[in-house]
Symmetry: C2
Subunit: 216 residues, 2 copies
DNA sequence: CGAGCGCTTGACCGGCGTCAACACCCGTGG
DNA sequence: CCACGGGTGTTGACGCCGGTCAAGCGCTCG
């Protein structure tokens, strides 16, 4: 299930040609002829995240919520539906998000007929797998301090590398497998040590004031 | 780098047709004509694991070893080379292992020309990604006891579901992100509680005597 | 038979979970 | 405009799980 609110003002195919992040997305290599193949459909689809952040959630054996990854603009949601026509995990927006929907049938057709998209698809699979492994190796390893610091580095804004985005403390806990109180404590400690500085009063945006301190 | 010793007695293409695990592997859907396309090459390749177990390892930020996944017969090694012509992590056999090597150029050619292989490839990507997410959600969550129990369940022998395989204690620690002494303690506790029974004296094979106890 | 390696077990201690109180932000309604 | 209440983030006290260090045991192999 992908309960993302789709920006309904943005539909049809014409905008794809002028998409602001077209160089990051699945359709980056499509030419005018390929665009002709795209038709609106309502079935299962694959999504490209345009804006915002989305958490991939699955239930653990003991019923708690486990966040396996966070997707950011340019990432693909629901790629697995291409292979199995089912989604493996739940995708929930962490902030207001916008996605492009690509109908499954269209993608199947293009993947067989467009070598460019075929290659792009491979890259997206590879990126998703690498992200998953990175997430495990970087964020779920070591002390609580190391995990929070690693998350701060991973969630840097691509446009403003000095700024990083955090989330609700219990979401951060589900990402790092630590309790929300510990998350809060470690953030406070990093602020005290001069590694971070809060940008707002909700604890969502921080300035990275000492990058070296975060890296160890 | 994939330092797997390849069973040199097994080479050429003729054996593929009679491979005992052909229904599990990448080439399961190739027909006689497709086999004609395969030639021996020496370049980068993708591997299908025939026998044994392989750990996927990457270095963490602080230099320690982190095992991101364990591959078992039928799994594919080095799929990422298809997209980037590089390997993302190191693959090291945990026990004596046998692999099929599939040259990259061959796979690229077939992936474009053989719809059957193309579909099979998608499934392998999807399986790898699901395995990665499962590994994170099942094995790196909860108490040390829960992690060891989850590993025992995941490492059951497909042919003998009552038997499970363990590894060197420090490898298990690198999989579960706990120390080897804790691994040892928890295994002992599970044996004491009647959930497991050792099959050998090296601590590698155990009989599952109480499955329900392991599941919670 | 002895050396060496890996597994186990024990004692101790620190980090993190638990429970609880408190502070702060924000929306609601008087 | 302020009073109130709920939700979320922070901070404190305390106890336990798991990390650390060390000793002991049982294999395996020379």
């Amino acid at each position: 299930m992908i309960p993302i609110k789709i920006d309904s003002a943005w539909k049809g195919t014409s905008d794809c040609r002028n998409c602001g992040i077209r160089d990051m997305v699945l359709f980056a290599d499509l030419n005018e002829q390929d665009f002709g193949e795209i038709q609106g459909e309502t079935a299962l689809g694959v999504f490209t995240l345009r804006k915002g952040m989305v958490k991939l959630v699955r239930a653990t054996a003991d019923g708690r919520e486990r966040i396996v990854r966070v997707l950011r603009p340019g990432d693909v949601i629901g790629l697995e539906a291409l292979a199995t026509a089912r989604y493996d995990s739940e995708a929930i927006p962490l902030v207001e998000a916008q996605v492009c929907r690509i109908p499954l049938a269209v993608l199947h057709h293009l993947s067989a007929n467009s070598p460019r998209l075929h290659k792009r698809l491979m890259q997206k699979w590879q990126q998703a797998l690498k992200d998953a492994d990175d997430w495990l190796a970087d964020l779920n390893f070591g002390s609580a301090r190391q995990r929070v610091a690693a998350l701060a580095l991973k969630m840097r804004d691509p446009d403003q590398p000095g700024i990083t985005s955090f989330f609700a403390r219990d979401d951060m806990g589900a990402m790092l497998d630590i309790k929300l109180e510990t998350v809060s404590r470690e953030i406070s400690a990093l602020v005290r040590d001069g590694a971070l500085k809060p940008c707002d009063k909700q604890g969502r945006r921080y300035e990275i004031t000492n990058e070296a301190l975060l890296m160890r």
